[in-house]
Symmetry: C2
C-alpha cells in the first residue's frame, strides 16, 4: 500500500431542515394548542424543558406576559416543564450594540440545564429575537428556538429568517449564525400595544417583497393602504402573513438559504437603510429607513432608465399612504450615505451586488452604481421632487 | 379574502455543502500548490484576503511558521493577500476553558476587514482549530475556514469534523456551532515536532473508527501497530488518512451531519473519556482518555455478553501495542466516573444513547447501562485483570 502523500477527498453533502410558521391569536392563552403543538417532547410523552425570554420593551406594555408564560407551561405540564424563571432581554435595535447582551442569556440557558432537545421560547421584536436566537444557536451547538415575534416588522420579515446576530466591534450583525428556528408563531394578539409608528413599520417589508415577487400582492397593498394605515385587522393579518410567506418561500426554495452566493434580493432598498439607521443613531426605525431606502433605489432606477417613472410614483404613493415619510434631513449628507454602498459590498464580500427593480415583480442584480446619478436621486428625494 | 387567523406553513429545505480534505507534505512551502488551490479568489482572479492563526504550542516548536505563512502568501500574490499579521492562539485542551480565548480572534477578524469570501487559515491542534473555527463561524455569520491540523489527533478525527466549540460556564464545548470547514489540509510534515506521547494519540481515533466501520482497517492497524509505535511514516500516513476518510464518510453520508438525532456512534468510548479528562484536569490527553474509554466499554460489552472475550482482548492488545496505558488511578473513583454517563445524556438531550460493540465493524446503540456491571468492568480494568 503506497502512502497517500497527496490524496484528495471531495464529498458534497446536505443538511435538511424544516421551516415552520404558524399564524394565530393569543398563543399564550392556556387553551390555545399551537405553542404546545410545536414543542413536542423528545422522546414523545416526556415533559421537555422550555426556557422563555421576553423583550423588555414588550414587557413594559404587557407585564402580564410573565404570568401567562408560567400558566401556559403549567397547563401543558404533560409535555412541557419550565426550566427556569423567564428572563427579560433589552429590546430595540440599539441594544444590539450592547456587548453584554449575550452573556446573561447564555448563562441562563446553561443554568437551566437545557439540552439540544429543549426549547428556548423568545417573545419580542427583531433585536431580541436576533440576540436570543444567537445564544440559542451557539449553546450546545444549537437549542430548538421558538420565535414569537411581537412587532409587525419581525412578523413580516426577520422573524421567518434563518439568521440571527448582534453588532460588535462597530459592525452591524458582525456576530451571528445561520440557524433555522424550530418554529415561528406569529401571534397577532401581541401587536395591540404597538404605537402607530411601530405598527406601520412591518408594512414596508411587505411592499419590498411584493415589489420583488408578487405584483398581485402589490395591488392588494395599494387597495388596502388606507385600511392598513388604520390598523384594520383583516388587512393587517393578510399583509403580514403573505409577506412572511413570500420571505419564507424565497429562503427555502431559491437554493441558497445560507447566502453563500453574493445575491441577496431580500435586501432590496437596504444598503441605504442600514446607513440611515447608523447616521441617525437608530432614531429612524428600521422600517422607516427601508421606506426611504426603497424610495432612493426606485428613484435611482428611474433616473438610469431601468424602471419607468409612473411605477416609481406608484411605489412612492403607496409608501406615503401607508404613513411613511420619504425624506429625511440625513439625506443631506450624500457622501456619508454613499459609503453604505461600500459597507454593503464589504459585508457581502467580493463583488458589489445590489438589487434594483425593472418593473413590479421583476428585480435585477446590478454590480455597479452610477454615483452621480445616485446623488441626483437622493437630492431629488430630499427636496421632495418627483422623479423626472 | 378571509384573514388567516390560524394558518400554517411547513416547508422542508436543505443546505448544500462540500467537504474537502487534502493530504500533503509541507503545505507552506512556496512551491506547494495545495493551499493556494483551495483558496481561489471570489470572483476568480481577484486577490482574496487571508488571515492566519497559529497554535502557541506549535509555534514554540516551529517558530519559523510565521515567516513561512508570509512567504507563502507573497508567493501567491496573484490570488492571495495577507489581511493582517498572523496571530497566536493559546493551544491545548485546557485553553478551551479560557473565556477570553475567543475575543481577540474575533477582533483580529474584524480589524482585518474580512468578509464571507475571505479565508481564515488556522494551523494547530484540536483546541485551537475549535476556538478559531467558532470565531470564523460566527464572524459575519461564517468566514471560509481552512484547517491545517498539526496533531495526529486532529488529522485523524476532529480536524475533518463539522463542529467547533469552546468550554463555558463549566460545560465542555458549551459554546459552538456546526459549520463545515471550507477545506482541511492534512500536512504530515507538521507532525515531526510532536512528542511520542502526542504522536500516538491520533491512533486511538483510528482504532475507534475501525472498530465501528472497517474490520479490514482494524487488521491493518494490528499488522502495523509496532510500525505506528515507531512513527514509521508510511503506516502513520495511511492510518491518519484512512481514519480521516472514515470519519468524513460517516459525517457526510449517514444522513445526520448536524447530529439532530440522538445517536453519535463516533463518540464510541467517549463518555468515560470526557469524564477522565475533567477528573485529571486534562493531565490525561484526549487520545489517552479515549484509549481507556474504549477499554472500559469493550470490557463492559464482554461483561454483559454483547462482545466476545477474545475480541475484547484483541482490542486491548492493539491499544497497548500502540503504546497506551489502559489503567489509571482515576479509575478508582467509579462513582465520579459514572457521572459521565449522565453528563453525556444531558449533552445529547432526551434519551441516553451509548454506542457499544457487538463485533468488530458492528456497533449497536444501547439506551441503558447496567451500572453494577459497568463498575465491575472499571474495577477489572483498574486492577489490570483480563475480561472474564
Amino acid at each position: 500500500m503506497t502512502p497517500p502523500t497527496h490524496r484528495e477527498i471531495t464529498q458534497p453533502f446536505e443538511v435538511r431542515f424544516t421551516h415552520r410558521v404558524i399564524f394565530t391569536r393569543h398563543a399564550l392563552s392556556a387553551d390555545n394548542p399551537v405553542l404546545a403543538g410545536v414543542m413536542p417532547g423528545d422522546p414523545p410523552g416526556k415533559p421537555t424543558k422550555v426556557l422563555a425570554f421576553i423583550d423588555s420593551r414588550l414587557l413594559e406594555q404587557s407585564p402580564g406576559l410573565l404570568l401567562q408564560v408560567d400558566r401556559y407551561v403549567q397547563a401543558h405540564a404533560g409535555s412541557l416543564t419550565l426550566a427556569g424563571p423567564t428572563d427579560t432581554v433589552e429590546g430595540g435595535e440599539a441594544s444590539k450594540n450592547n456587548p453584554r447582551l449575550l452573556e446573561p442569556v447564555l448563562r441562563a440557558i446553561a443554568d437551566a440545564g437545557l439540552c439540544r432537545k429543549s426549547y428556548v421560547l423568545v417573545i419580542g421584536g427583531g433585536a431580541v429575537l436576533d440576540a436570543v436566537g444567537l445564544a440559542a444557536a451557539i449553546a450546545h451547538r444549537g437549542i430548538r428556538l421558538i420565535r414569537l415575534p411581537s412587532t409587525t416588522l419581525a412578523m413580516a420579515d426577520s422573524g421567518v429568517g434563518v439568521k440571527n446576530g448582534i453588532n460588535a466591534f462597530g459592525k452591524k450583525n458582525y456576530l451571528g449564525t445561520f440557524a433555522p428556528p424550530w418554529a415561528v408563531v406569529n401571534d397577532f394578539g401581541l401587536l395591540d400595544t404597538l404605537s402607530d409608528r411601530d405598527f406601520r413599520c412591518g408594512f414596508v417589508e411587505a411592499v419590498k417583497v411584493a415589489l420583488l415577487k408578487d405584483p398581485a400582492f402589490f395591488e392588494y397593498l395599494e387597495a388596502h393602504a388606507e385600511a392598513l394605515n388604520k390598523r384594520e385587522p383583516s388587512a393587517t393579518e393578510h399583509t403580514l402573513a403573505r409577506s412572511a410567506e413570500l420571505h419564507l418561500q424565497h429562503i427555502t426554495t431559491t437554493g441558497d438559504p445560507y447566502e453563500m452566493t453574493a445575491a441577496r434580493p431580500l435586501d432590496f432598498g437596504h444598503w441605504a437603510a442600514h446607513e440611515l439607521e447608523t447616521i441617525t443613531n437608530y432614531d429612524l426605525r428600521h422600517g422607516e429607513a427601508v421606506a426611504v431606502g426603497l424610495a432612493i433605489d426606485t428613484l435611482y432606477a428611474a433616473q438610469v432608465g431601468l424602471l419607468d417613472v409612473q411605477t416609481t410614483h406608484r411605489i412612492h404613493r403607496l409608501l406615503r399612504t401607508l404613513g411613511f415619510t420619504l425624506t429625511h434631513p440625513a439625506l443631506k449628507d450624500t457622501d456619508r450615505l454613499l459609503k453604505g454602498i461600500e459597507s454593503f459590498r464589504e459585508h457581502l464580500g467580493g463583488e458589489l451586488t445590489i438589487t434594483m427593480l425593472q418593473t413590479i415583480g421583476r428585480p435585477v442584480d446590478v454590480h455597479a452604481i452610477d454615483t452621480a446619478q445616485m446623488q441626483i436621486a437622493i437630492e431629488k428625494l430630499r427636496a421632495g421632487e418627483p422623479a423626472a
